[in-house]
Structures are given as structure tokens and as C-alpha cells.
């Protein structure tokens, strides 16, 4: 029997891997045979994730790194073995209507959602840490296709991600390196509740999802596996909606 989307012998970097979608991506890609380099700021949670990773051949690396720190980025990239894949998942949400956007939150969201990704990719490309045929996956958001109230800054950061992915895909195509973005609808990982949305509001919002449920972290992981695998070798520069039909209505 053929395993279609195998990640056997692939060396993969996942950012924001200590919880939520990033943690699920790490776990599921390891199950497909990948060797993982998982990155996050919280050592306890990061080690918890590493302990849950299936080990096929080589041990996985858990790397503490504050992606907002240029020194941390330099150190991270310096110590990486050449990569077959990257999942840029680290991100943050902060809801506020435009009148009450705080300057500090504009800076914080742009930093973690796009600027740190650009800096990381710049260093990885410069230091030639991507193998020919590698695949880069950005976790963007369906919010870039369908606006919701209170999300303007977050949407702007993810819009920047979408634009960056296309330029990156074009620049790296000659090396057979691909870049794509997944645009998930709402995945309930707890991140939004920290940001001022109540459970009642979440329940009411569910009616906007034709398939009748919010996303699970695994939904995003499975598409990530496809994009990281050799089977998607003709796909680059695309923004893929993955939203239970949310954007249809």
C-alpha cells in the first residue's frame, strides 16, 4: 500500500508549535515521518509538545526562540540543518473596533504575524537553509477574504502575509522551492477568548459556517501535510480557503 502524503526523511520547521494549530501540525507531520524543529517561547509547553511527537528515525528538536528577537532568529537559523519544509504558524489576535485600536497592539500584531516571518525567511534564504524542492506554508486567515468587526489590524497583518507569500513564491520558484498560504476559518484553540470574545458570541457565530462546525486544529494540519509533501510539487503562490464554507455566505 502506498502512503501518498509521506513526509519521510523531511526536515521541517514549525513556529508557534507549543499550542493550538502549531502543536497539531507538529504532531501530525511527525506521524507522517518528518523530523521536526519546533519553535516557541514557552519552554514547558514546547517540551510537552515534543514529548507527544512520534519519533521515526531521528530525535526532534525543541528550540526556544522569541521570533521578535533578531538575535534569537540569527541563532535559530545558524543552528538549523537544511530544511525540506517550514510552517509559519506563530501569530496573535487582538480584537478592537477601529476607534479603540491601541498603538502598542498595532506594533505587536504586525511584529508577530508578519514582520518576524519575513525576517526569519530572509535569514533562512540568505543562509541557504532550504533544500531544492522545499515547501513553505504560511498560516494566514480567511479574515483576509471576509471581514469581521473588530478585526481590522489582524486582517491587515494577514493581508500582508498573503502578499508576501506570492512574492516569495515567485522569487524561489527557480529553485523549485514553493510557498503557499492556508486561510483557515475559525479554529477554536482558546486564542480568541483571551481577546474578548465570549462563548455565547462564538455559539451565535457558528450559524455562519455552512458545514455546521468550527475548524479543528487537525483540519489545518492535514492540508499542511499535503502542502509539505512532494505531491503538491506543482502548487505555489496560492492562498487556500479552509473554512467550512464560511466564505461562501
Amino acid at each position: 500500500m502506498q502512503r501518498l502524503f509521506s513526509l519521510e526523511n523531511k526536515n521541517i520547521l514549525v513556529t508557534g508549535a507549543s499550542r493550538g494549530i502549531g502543536k497539531s501540525i507538529a504532531i501530525e507531520t511527525a506521524l507522517q515521518g518528518a523530523q521536526l524543529n519546533i519553535v516557541a517561547r514557552d519552554s514547558e509547553r514546547l517540551n510537552e509538545t515534543r514529548e507527544q511527537l512520534h519519533v521515526s528515525k531521528v530525535a526532534h528538536n525543541a528550540i526556544l526562540c522569541d521570533l521578535a528577537s533578531k538575535d534569537d532568529l540569527d541563532h535559530l537559523v545558524e543552528n538549523l540543518e537544511p530544511l525540506d519544509g517550514i510552517v509559519l504558524n506563530a501569530g496573535a489576535v487582538k480584537l478592537a473596533p477601529i476607534a479603540f485600536i491601541k498603538d502598542a497592539n498595532i506594533d505587536a500584531l504586525f511584529e508577530v504575524n508578519i514582520q518576524s516571518s519575513i525576517r526569519l525567511i530572509q535569514r533562512i534564504v540568505r543562509k541557504r537553509k532550504l533544500k531544492k524542492g522545499a515547501s513553505i506554508v504560511f498560516i494566514s486567515s480567511i479574515a483576509t477574504q471576509k471581514a469581521t468587526i473588530g478585526n481590522a489590524v489582524y486582517n491587515a497583518t494577514k493581508g500582508a502575509v498573503n502578499s508576501f507569500v506570492k512574492s516569495l513564491a515567485l522569487e524561489l520558484a527557480s529553485k523549485q522551492i514553493r510557498a503557499n498560504a492556508i486561510l483557515p476559518g475559525f479554529v477554536n484553540t482558546g486564542i480568541i477568548q483571551d481577546s474578548g470574545v465570549s462563548d455565547d458570541q462564538l455559539e451565535a457565530h457558528l450559524k455562519n459556517y455552512p458545514l455546521g462546525r468550527y475548524g479543528k486544529p487537525e483540519d489545518i494540519s492535514y492540508l499542511s501535510i499535503y502542502l509539505l509533501s512532494n505531491q503538491s510539487s506543482w502548487m505555489t503562490g496560492t492562498l487556500i480557503n479552509l473554512d467550512g464554507g464560511f466564505s461562501l455566505k
Partner: protein
């Protein structure tokens, strides 16, 4: 200070002409909806550098209680 808070609250809900008392159960206002809810929490964060947790905000009924929650967290 409490007067300033009521004024900010009225601006946030765009109800400057409405008679608002500190004892009002503001979630019963006809103008109250999910956007107002989001706006008030964001206004408090922006103006007072205070984050009111969802679980706390859910239990709050009057402006007095909301003001006290802000004061406790400043």
C-alpha cells in the same frame, strides 16, 4: 472620574443624548449588542489599560459594577 467613564461609555455606544445613570443595567439598553460588547471591552483597554476578562464581564450588570471592576484592576 466616574463621570468621565459614563461619558466614554456613552461615546462608545454612540448614545450621547441618552440619560445614563451609574445604576443602569446597561446590557438591557436597546443599543446593546455584540459590537457594543466588543467596543466597551476595547474602550476600557484603550482608555484605562485594563482588561476585563470575559468571565467577569459576563457577570457584570450595572455600570457601577463595571466601574468597580475597572478600579480594582488599575
Amino acid at each position: 472620574m466616574q463621570e468621565d467613564f459614563i461619558q466614554l461609555f456613552k461615546e462608545t455606544l454612540d448614545i450621547e443624548d441618552k440619560e445614563v445613570q451609574i445604576t443602569d443595567q446597561f446590557k438591557t439598553y436597546e443599543e446593546w449588542d455584540s459590537i457594543a460588547n466588543l467596543s466597551v471591552i476595547a474602550m476600557i483597554d484603550a482608555e484605562y489599560e485594563v482588561i476585563i476578562e470575559n468571565s467577569v464581564f459576563k457577570e457584570i450588570e450595572t455600570l457601577q459594577e463595571l466601574w468597580e471592576a475597572i478600579e480594582e484592576r488599575r
